[in-house]
Amino acid sequence: MSRTDHEIVVDDPTAPEDDSPSVVSSDTVEIVVCLLLLALAAILGYDNWRTGASWDSTGPEPGYFPFYLSVILGGGSLYGLIAALLVRRAASETFVTRAQARRVLAVFVPTLLFCLVTQFLGLYVASFLLIAGFMRLIGKIALWKSLLTAFLFTAIMFVTFDVAFDVIMPKGPLEAAFGY
């Protein structure tokens, strides 16, 4: 049945193993999320109540609509919390395995650093560093390929947005040195 005329094959050497141990279960995450949402609902509810959540001569006060929404949000998360606590005893699904968490962090941490660098050195420098670094360190792609790709992509973005479409991006000292 299965003919071997596959012509496009891409391997993923660093794929997460299937038997990796669980870091945290879905139920636990659900409980934490519900608690956070409950806290958010309480804070926003309080703020709206302070702004004014009742009626005055001109109709509902500004906090009226969002106040009741905070109540609904609170109710929903409370229900979710109780539901999650009740089913907790049953076999729980894995939220993320250790191997998966490693891979997710391998994207998330560079993204976080990218945002930080953008804040200080501008978007284009950060973008060059992110692409080159990510391809080299995480993708294990040859250095020259990584640098070239990063440079080309960043240059294309610069020409497209800053030059052609006049969409101005945050810039840092490097661009300033070139007079942009």
Partner: protein, 505 residues
């Protein structure tokens, strides 16, 4: 027919070299986005939206909607060749599409998918052409209570008809509505929920949230999975195309049925994903030999693809006519309309005739150009998957950041995008649906304004939502839909339901 004349005018607006070039660029970008792992329709449109900020609205919407069509076409390529559905609604296409590719009939399956997508969209566009002007002229009579009732109906149908746990839909929706209210209150000018932060004064921008929720979180989710893939390279010859098209009339019942299902579910909020499954299942049920489905039957490609495209396209109908998006992508297009200073809703058909009919005409033209484009360029796009994800992922991150920054020129928005990326990742993993959140965020202010205006008009009496037959029936319908699961359960218990095996899902 008035609609016909206006449509011709729309074509006249479109048929310039500049628009046609934009159309092709949009389609290519869209197919690209649809083929790449970790990106799909809504993400693609959200990320590429900033490109259009400096264009005039008509060119911008033409390009964006073409990105959308392209992404829909692109999803079929990966489903059939690699057994990887790019989107939830491409899942049903893999059932028969991939077996066909394994049997060496990839070209046939792809032609079938593209052609049926084209037919599905065409039926939906025809529906939009003739129905949207009627609905919008009817909706011109709407006052604030009617509009609030329609918004309520949208929200309630998400809760009542959605497949997710009800409380999760409620959480997602109320959070979206709340975040929409952050910043300056449009009626009184007072600040709300800003906690003294100058950055929050601007409010939480819908598009920034969407880029984070769909773009960044999708990258995180994609990384969790094994990214290895093997699939078939395929090129489509004219001979295959013609032979599939020659057989097309034989399947007219399937095509028509799927188009109808797609249009119906597309207009219903939250129904877009169900359409392709329903199209597939009904085709299977009505077939003489249901057992042959799943083993590479061409009808198994026709049915879900037609329904998916019909629903994806008809989801734009309520957005254009009422200002209520029927799907996540439609919500993002609606966000785009607001950026260009257009107020979606019934007035759009009166005040911006050129724009609306240009858009509708672009749906016809974009689908024709798209069909030709995908049929001729499949081999190129299939080989995009050879590009390692380690190169694609950082580029997507950069594009997301550019998109988020460009909307309001604010560094804060890049951080906000990152935050929403994490939220989207966690929400998706614990089953809190993102579509209601998106919809609530984009409609929040308008829903609140409609509510407050009706309350001011009635002096605070909730009976205003039952003050006449129209608003009363919409509100009642909304409440019925909200409690639909309960009502359905009760009816089943009494034995009033047609279904013999109640709640068998």
């Amino acid at each position: 027919m008035e609609a016909f004349g206006l449509l011709l005018h729309g074509f006249a607006v479109l048929l310039t070299w500049k628009t046609l070039v934009l159309m092709v660029v949009g389609l290519v970008l869209g197919i690209f986005v649809g083929v790449l792992p970790g990106l799909g329709g809504p993400n693609g449109v959200a990320i590429l939206l900033p490109l259009t900020f400096t264009m005039d609205p008509t060119s911008a919407i033409v390009m964006l909607s073409c990105i959308y069509w392209g992404a829909l076409f692109g999803g079929a390529i990966t489903s059939i060749l690699f057994n990887i559905p790019g989107e939830a609604w491409s899942v049903a296409t893999t059932f028969d599409g991939y077996p066909m590719a394994q049997q060496g009939r990839a070209a046939e399956a792809l032609t079938a998918a593209f052609t049926s997508s084209f037919i599905g969209s065409l039926v939906a566009v025809l529906l939009i052409t003739f129905l949207a002007p009627m609905i919008s002229s009817f909706a011109l009579k709407f006052g604030p209570p009617e509009f609030f009732a329609v918004y309520l109906l949208t929200f309630c149908s998400f809760v009542g008809l959605g497949r997710e746990a009800k409380h999760k839909t409620v959480i997602s929706m109320s959070l979206g509505l709340l975040l929409a209210g952050v910043g300056m209150d449009t009626v009184s000018g007072q600040l709300r929920m800003t906690f003294g932060s100058a950055e929050l004064l601007r409010g939480i921008n819908f598009l920034v949230a969407v880029i984070g929720l769909f773009g960044i979180s999708e990258i995180l989710l994609t990384m969790e999975e094994r990214l290895a893939l093997r699939g078939h390279a395929a090129s489509i010859s004219l001979r295959v195309v013609l032979s599939v098209w020659k057989d097309l009339p034989k399947y007219w019942v399937t095509l028509l049925r799927s188009s109808f299902i797609g249009c119906w579910l597309g207009i219903t909020p939250g129904g877009a994903i169900a359409a392709s499954f329903m199209g597939y299942n009904l085709a299977k049920r009505f077939a003489k030999d249901p057992a042959s489905f799943g083993k590479g039957r061409i009808e198994g490609v026709f049915a879900p693809e037609t329904a998916a495209h019909a629903s994806g396209t008809s989801a734009l109908l309520p957005m254009l006519a009422l200002g209520i998006p029927g799907s996540g992508t439609a919500a993002i297009l609606l966000g785009g309309l607001m950026v260009w200073g257009l107020n979606p809703g019934p007035l759009l058909f009166v005040e911006h005739k050129d724009f609306v009919w240009g858009l509708i005409a672009s749906m016809y033209l974009g689908n024709v150009v798209g069909l030709v484009l995908v049929l001729t360029t499949v081999p190129i796009f299939a080989s995009i998957l050879r590009v390692p994800f380690a190169a694609v992922a950082p580029m997507i991150v950069v594009s997301c950041a550019i998109g988020a920054y460009a909307i309001q020129n604010a560094m804060f928005d890049i951080w906000l995008m990152l935050g929403f990326g994490v939220v989207g990742y966690v929400f998706k993993k614990i089953g809190i649906p993102l579509a209601p959140f998106t919809l609530a965020l984009v409609l929040g202010n308008r829903a609140e304004d409609a509510f407050r205006l009706s309350m001011i008009g009635s002096g605070g009496d909730l009976k205003v939502f039952w003050s006449n037959g129209l608003v009363g029936s919409i509100t009642t319908l909304a409440i019925l839909l909200l409690f639909w699961p309960v009502i359905d359960g009760l009816l089943a218990r009494v034995g009033w339901t047609r279904r013999t095996s109640a709640t068998s899902r």
